[in-house]
Subunit: 125 residues, 2 copies
Amino acid sequence: MGKSEMICDCDIIHQDAVNDVREKMLDESILLDMADFYKALSDSTRIKIIDVIREGELCVCDISVLLNMTKSSVSHQLKNLREMNLIKCRRQGKEIYYSLADEHVLEVFDICKIHVMERNNEEKD
Amino acid sequence: MGKSEMICDCDIIHQDAVNDVREKMLDESILLDMADFYKALSDSTRIKIIDVIREGELCVCDISVLLNMTKSSVSHQLKNLREMNLIKCRRQGKEIYYSLADEHVLEVFDICKIHVMERNNEEKD
DNA sequence: ATTATAGTTGAATATCCATTCAATTGTCAA
DNA sequence: TTGACAATTGAATGGATATTCAACTATAAT
């Protein structure tokens, strides 16, 4: 491994630990995909959308009313979520119904919910 | 529920479904906390940090070398992660060691990893 | 064909935020 | 107490992105 990592302004403190971790690091492409996945849920509008279609499909109009936002801004975020494969849609007549893409999304949503709620409880002590 | 939701440019298409979902919606404050939680992991630098301290504590210098980034920018992101309670730190002499705050973080990290990897496999077909 | 409604889209704006740079703090050793 | 190293901090900059607005597409009904 040598000293080729000296690009940064550091002396290496724990060369053994660094070498060890380097072997176990995930591929950068996977980490970037993971960051993108989290990014999809990191916006308040998008997480509210996930929340309202959690238990069943809704059309854009319904979602806009529930979130008290314009159809345009909801539609933009629906597009983002769809491009991230977090939601899917089907057209029926003039309306387009959106729902979660799969169980993974709900799974991640629920774990985060529990995490946040537990933390809120801890803060009361 | 009436028509007080008419602020947006919509006719209500499915009033029953909307009323139903409205009762089950999470508190806005919880949803905002959840979005913030995801935001913490939505940056490539921050998720790389989580990746390298996944199995044990490291000092800022080690992390900078592994990520090939300046200590300053790593430190800024460590601060973000710490403010979100995703990581904790302890000082020993001149060095400060960072590690994951609790098992929740690893749990969410792993679920996301599996999600991304499965999706990558599906795309090969 | 025309009209109305559902939804999408692109450009513009405004805000947010990651990195850089320079200065600073904290700790240890001489 | 001076110097050296680890790390943090604040301000500035540049890039990303959420919402708005207006124009547009798609579908259905008359």
